[in-house]
């Protein structure tokens, strides 16, 4: 406290309490008079930054030296064609009523609808789909309703779509304009001439709009997904194309899955191989794109470490695999007695290592494939296509088997040649039906004459 005294800081507890007390007091005070609190809250509860009403103007002004009276006087409007006499209050200054047209007459705008003569019609406007009578009616309505085509379509005696009416009107007007113009150049700037009405386009556009408008939320989401997917594929294709452009100098033993093992000028073959691969389906495109883009980026580096290059290649190769799969690859490598990172990373060693990893990936994929097929098979064999409650449980269990089935059933003996058909205790679910002597638990609980073991 003394320190605060010395520094001259206010003693905090009291002022805060005081602030707190004064603030709610101020808040309720802040509600302005003149408008209700709710209305005030609409503006955000804060006074506007600029006063909308000039306060100085609000004061009562002393009466000026002019004499002002208000009189009920007749008036005419140039906007009216019928000479109707109307009356209104008029501000009379010093006994002199105001002159001039009715102040709102200037707002009476209308469209300049071109009217053609009969000769002109015969010369330029004949159309198999339209009679002269119809066209006349159309133009009448257009003039009457200021080109409000929805109303015109409504009022039109014979049923015509809005697009048809528009088409007829605009093409007819255009034809007349062009015909009347002394030279084509003069009319070229006219909007009707410059941008003619395109019926088919309009119909299509309106149809598309209504489709978009009537899309359900579900549809919207699906569309967004498809677009995102398309974007991704387009981008990966661009990456693949960009990566193929520069010459790939890396000798093929670290290259993509090309069979060629030639070194040196034979590398002209590997780019074309890459291109052939890239022409294939999208998923493989992305894998090859990964590989060749990795190679391209390595080449950009000028200098790099072999271990770094291997890491990049490994990442590219396992880009499509999930984290669990990658862990399984590493587990398999360890089981085989191979270092996750080679101790002597020469070119040859790195290449072999990479190939080994890819082969293990293939192996794991095949294992999974086999599992699914066997699950399918066992559910088929139980005749579980449908109605028994027990069946649902069985197929469920088959699926559970899949999930708990740890695929490292085949152990790799460190001694090469021991192809371990050993069943390790690691697995939780039962083994494959074709190999196990005991039938898988649950799947054949139903009393059956034939058991898998009998086969």
């Amino acid at each position: 406290m003394d320190a605060k005294d010395i520094l001259g800081l206010p003693k905090t507890p009291l002022p805060i309490a005081q602030e707190k007390k004064s603030r709610p007091h101020k808040d309720s005070q802040r509600k302005p008079d003149g408008i209700s609190r709710e209305v005030y809250a609409l503006t955000g509860g804060v006074a506007p930054l600029m006063p909308s009403i000039d306060v100085s103007q609000l004061k009562r002004r002393p009466p000026s030296d002019e004499k002002i009276t208000w009189q009920w006087l007749p008036f005419t409007s140039s906007a009216r064609k019928d000479n109707l006499q109307l009356y209104h209050w008029v501000r009379v200054v010093n006994g002199v009523p105001p002159t001039g047209d009715y102040s709102f007459a200037k707002y009476n705008k209308s469209v300049d609808v071109i009217r053609y003569t009969d000769e002109e019609y015969a010369k330029y406007l004949t159309d198999p789909k339209w009679t002269k009578e119809e066209t006349d009616q159309l133009f009448d309505l257009c003039e009457r309703f200021d080109l409000r085509f929805i109303i015109i379509a409504d009022r039109f005696p014979t049923p015509r779509t809005v697009e048809e009416l528009k088409d007829r009107y605009y093409s007819a007007s255009r034809a007349i304009l062009v015909a009347r113009a002394p030279s084509p150049g003069e009319v070229a700037g006219h909007p009707l001439v410059k941008e003619p009405y395109n019926v088919t386009h309009e119909i299509e556009r309106k149809r598309a709009l209504s489709m978009v408008l009537s899309q359900t939320k579900h549809q919207e989401r699906k569309d967004a997904e498809v677009l995102a997917e398309a974007k991704r594929i387009a981008e990966s294709r661009m990456a693949a194309r960009a990566a193929e452009e520069p010459d790939l100098p890396v000798p093929s033993d670290i290259g993509p899955e090309s069979a060629e093992r030639a070194v040196g000028p034979g590398d002209t073959i590997s780019p074309s191989n890459v291109q052939v691969h890239a022409a294939a389906a999208a998923p493989s495109t992305s894998v090859i794109a990964d590989n060749s883009s990795t190679l391209a980026s390595l080449r950009m580096l000028k200098v790099y470490l072999r271990t770094y290059a291997l890491e990049q290649m490994v990442q590219a190769a396992s880009s499509s695999a999930g984290l669990r799969t990658i862990k399984r690859v590493e587990q398999t490598l360890q089981d085989l007695g191979i270092n996750l990172k080679p101790k002597v990373p020469t070119k040859a060693v790195c290449a072999e290592h990479l190939e080994l990893r890819k082969e293990i990936l293939t192996l794991l994929n095949l294992q999974k494939q086999l599992q699914y097929k066997e699950a399918e098979g066992s559910s088929f064999r139980d005749g579980s296509y449908g109605d028994m409650p027990g069946t649902a449980k069985r197929s469920q269990r088959a699926v559970d088997q899949d999930r708990t089935f740890v695929p490292d059933t085949i152990s790799f003996g460190v001694i090469p040649g021991d192809r371990g058909v050993k069943r390790e205790q690691k697995r939780k679910g039962p083994g494959r039906a074709s190999e196990t002597p005991s039938s898988p638990a649950g799947a054949h609980k139903r009393p059956r004459k034939m058991k898998a073991s009998d086969l």
Binding site: P249, G264, L305, R306, T307, P345, L356, L363, L370
Partner: protein
């Protein structure tokens, strides 16, 4: 050196990579009786050619970045053998930056080594005679070597020379410098030489080949099983 010479030297060759196998790491001796609290070990961190050849044909200098608690933690070594000796008590990561000659590569390359002083087997006795040695093997790859670089290192044992495109000839190498001067840069007679580890790619290749064989056999077996299961499933498939 005329301008045309320069451009000639800078000419790069595509589709050719040249690599330099290196080994980097440290050897640490326990000081035994002479050890104090802050100086319990004497260690040397180094970068050497994998076959103990002289790296200065490629490397201009090496910078070792030590822990900030050391005086002048940035140590620059301008000539082979590229090593640095110090004494201390702690293990930490050392950043080793290799700077190459101008015609080799303008960008430096970083290596990272974790200094190891204490043996893996903590229970074993520490010896002042036998150092703790940890080494890592790696290869420095140059992607677009210039002609002059290739010409210069043509027959140098420190460098793994690539097979050149057919019909390609290099100018003869510049006359080799003083033999004695060159000899000193290699680590064949280095005092620590007896502790250097051996890195043989042959063993690893063998291991990898064996592993691949196993995996391939397994793959073939799985493929057969899949075919079989497919066949079996066909019979029982609901219509």
């Amino acid at each position: 050196m005329g301008k045309s010479d320069d451009t000639e030297k800078k000419k790069k060759i595509k589709d050719v990579e040249i690599s330099v196998p290196v080994v980097y790491g440290n050897a640490a001796f326990w000081l035994g009786k002479k050890a104090s609290e802050y100086q319990s070990h004497k260690w040397t961190v180094y970068v050497r050619g994998a076959t103990n050849e002289d790296l200065s044909v490629v490397v201009k200098r090496v910078v070792f970045q030590l822990h900030s608690s050391f005086n002048n933690p940035t140590r620059v070594v301008e000539s082979a053998p590229f090593e640095l000796s110090e004494s201390g008590w702690g293990e930490f990561e050392i950043a080793i930056t290799l700077f190459f000659h101008n015609d080799v590569c303008e960008k430096p390359l970083n290596l990272y080594h974790h200094l190891k002083l204490y043996p893996e087997d903590e229970s074993g006795p520490m010896s002042t005679k036998k150092p703790v040695v940890v080494e890592s093997y790696d290869e420095v790859v140059f992607t677009e070597p210039s002609e002059s670089f290739l010409a210069r290192v043509q027959n140098h044992p420190a460098v793994t020379f690539p097979r050149l495109p057919a019909g390609f000839t290099l100018p003869p190498p510049a006359p080799v410098e003083d033999e004695n001067k060159r000899k000193r840069g290699d680590t064949k007679d280095h005092p620590l030489n007896q502790w250097f580890l051996n890195f043989s790619e042959a063993d690893e290749l063998l291991q990898l080949a064996a592993a691949r064989q196993q995996v391939q056999a397994h793959i073939a077996k799985l493929r057969r099983q899949i075919c079989l299961t497919d066949g079996q499933n066909q019979q029982f498939k609901p219509i």
